[in-house]
């Protein structure tokens, strides 16, 4: 028995029905629309709508639960980043059906990572990819088509080196730079209203384009960092948006990736001379503390001297840790000196490891390939999503 007050009907209709003495949905089921309109004091149109809504409610099974086994099979699918260390850190790449946030200072490579994912999601299945399409929501105008062409050409070249069996050769015919561009849908949103509108329409879009496996919003922060005198309105909108994105991720088994900017937070410095208030600036992800709860996993890209580092600082199933990466002409890749190491068989690893002293900070002298999954104690400082900035 379901109470009528919980039915998804319009308030006025609900009041009329309750007043007419209907308390439970079941009481309405047997009635013809004409009867209902007379007994409930509704117009015929309203009565028809009530019947439609209630029958639709019956067809849907109540709360489709899944077993962990089914979830396990879904969770295995993820998008590689082409940076083997980062993939290892993320447990195979960016997972489908989840939301991920990429934070980082300007110019550190957030957009580059997003573009790389947009290309990598299209790698055919026989190469171990997903063969999916991608949607890129651009709010900053940083997407340069020429750059995607670079990345696409590099990815096609990379795959063409590995086509050994006929199936792969067949797949290469439809995996070209042009098809990669064709399967990447771009939406350019200029303000937050356009972004909200676009997200409302995305479920329909994803039904029409069922091959889409990746949704990127670059950046989510930019449209929400102005226009808001009342921050509570912003928080409410962001929460609604995040809820929709979570729904999109799980219902369409799409990986949702958004980027966030960094902002300066002033924290008082303790132990200074009295009467002289000092404050230190910390760089923290924008959009506030509450926002941090929404993404399933959060990745921070930052500089450590001349090296670019990627750190996972929120993840339900991966260790908090940092790896270095680089951005080359071909795209988002391993840091140059570590590339050779991770690709080599473990026997020769010990030789090649010794001379590389440039990356000594992020490398522990362990001999296994899975080292990036180990919690390395020397990096405990850089794990936190905070970096020191000036005053």
């Amino acid at each position: 028995m379901k109470p009528l007050s919980a039915a998804p009907l319009s308030p006025s209709v609900k009041v009329k029905l309750l007043r007419a003495g209907f308390d439970w949905e079941e009481e309405l089921r047997g009635l013809e629309p004409l009867e209902l309109s007379r007994e409930g004091g509704l117009s015929l149109e309203e009565a028809l709508e009530v019947q439609q809504i209630l029958t639709r409610g019956v067809e849907q099974p109540g709360g489709g639960g899944l077993t962990a086994l089914e979830l396990l099979q879904q969770e295995e699918r993820s998008i590689v980043t082409f940076c083997s260390q980062l993939d290892a850190l993320l447990g195979g790449g960016v997972p489908l059906g989840r939301t991920s946030e990429v934070c980082g200072t300007p110019g550190v490579g957030k957009t580059q990572l997003c573009l790389q994912l947009c290309v990598d999601v299209q790698i055919p299945e026989c190469f171990g990819g997903l063969g999916g399409h991608a949607v890129f929501v651009d709010t900053e105008g940083s997407l340069v088509v020429q750059r995607v062409v670079d990345l696409a050409q590099a990815a096609v070249h990379h795959c063409s080196l590995q086509d050994h069996d006929p199936e792969q050769q067949e797949a290469m015919k439809t995996f070209t730079m042009e098809t990669i561009l064709e399967h990447l849908h771009l939406m350019r949103c200029h303000d937050y209203v356009e972004l909200l509108a676009q997200v409302h329409l995305l479920p329909d879009f994803l039904v029409r384009h069922s091959k889409v496996r990746l949704l990127v919003i670059d950046s989510l922060a930019f449209p929400f960092r102005r226009h808001f005198e009342d921050l509570s309105v912003r928080t409410r909108l962001l929460n609604g948006l995040a809820q929709q994105l979570l729904q999109i991720a799980s219902q369409h088994s799409v990986a949702v990736v958004w980027t966030n900017q960094m902002t300066t937070q002033l924290v008082p410095v303790l132990g200074e001379t009295p009467g002289h208030r000092a404050a230190r600036g910390l760089l923290v992800p924008a959009l506030g503390e509450t926002w941090g709860h929404w993404a399933t996993q959060r990745l921070l890209l930052h500089w450590e001297g001349p090296h670019r580092l990627a750190s996972v600082f929120k993840s339900p199933n991966n260790m908090e840790s940092s790896v270095s990466y680089s951005i080359t002409q071909q795209g988002f890749r391993d840091a140059s000196s570590s590339l050779s190491e991770s690709k080599q068989p473990s026997s020769s690893l010990s030789e090649s490891k010794q001379p590389s002293s440039s990356l000594s900070e992020s490398k522990q002298p362990s001999s296994s390939l899975s080292e990036s999954k180990q919690p390395s104690s020397s990096l405990s400082e850089s794990k936190r999503p905070r970096m020191q900035e000036g005053q």
């Binding site: 319009s10 809504i53 900053e140 020429q146 939406m187 209203v193 356009e194 909200l196 930019f222 951005i327």
Partner: protein, 335 residues
Amino acid sequence: MASKKLRRAGVSPQVCELLKRHRVESCQDLLSLSPLEVMRLAGLSHQRALSLLRSVSTHCAPPVATLLELWKPTSESFFSTSLPALDRLLRGGLPRGTITEVAGPSGCGKTQMCVMLSVLATLPSSLGGLDAAVVYIDTEAAFSAQRLVGMAQARFPHHFSSRERLLQMAGRVHVFRELTCQDILNSLPGNLATRSNLLSHQASVLKYLAHRFNIPVVLTNQITTHLGNTGSEAPGQADSGFVTAALGNTWSHTVNTRLIVQYGDGRQRQIVIAKSPVAPYAVLNYTIQQEGIRLHEGGNQEPMGETGDPVLQPIRVRTEFNYSLSRPAETDGYR
């Protein structure tokens, strides 16, 4: 787009009336509501509330296109700087439809760069220009029409051989002297939040114009002292303070491409590509001549060598001690 009235977005008059009672009049107001609120305010069932939100969204949402449709030849998506080495790195020049920032100490050539780009934009496409007019917003009263004409003559002596062409070019550069803009920014009530908000708003207007009309937007930025950890220096030099681009971290997110001009050794100056969606970090040497900026090939081009966070990119000012603040930059030569 956002302030579009609901009535014009295909919402029925009855629903409009109901929503208006709750001061929900534009698409922006409606889309800021959750489906449950729409149900309550408009008296609709859940299903209808969702479809109302969707139909209003279709009126607000920008069009979707695949990248293949947007892929244009280089000349349409980039604005050549006529400096071959820089163009090569930037894949054809300054990206059109986005914001490019030129930051640097005073007297290093920011204005020269802008004047040079103004000349280039007016050139016919056969010479690599945009064959278009220029809006030059001058907040420091640094623009000199004589310099514009002089540079055009020196740089393209063949094209600007006739006085008529020269005057035609000058007529296409529309200069707006907005000296008060600086005053407004300076007189803001010491509130950095207000400033960031204002800046972000201006940035999004500029971005909209840039994208809508596919024009390159170039703006210059001053430099400021940044105290604290440089991130890239040796531990001994940390906390010494250095000079970097002004307006802060949030602003740095906003610009799509950031070029830094700085002093090198002797008369040499350098252009640094500090942030770009297409180009790697790179340093190019140049000097300022009669014809504007002239690059010096060879030298110490460092296309791939990265030095760290471009936001905290230390900028070399004119002094014996690089990265030091003790002496202000002298201003001589061209601004």
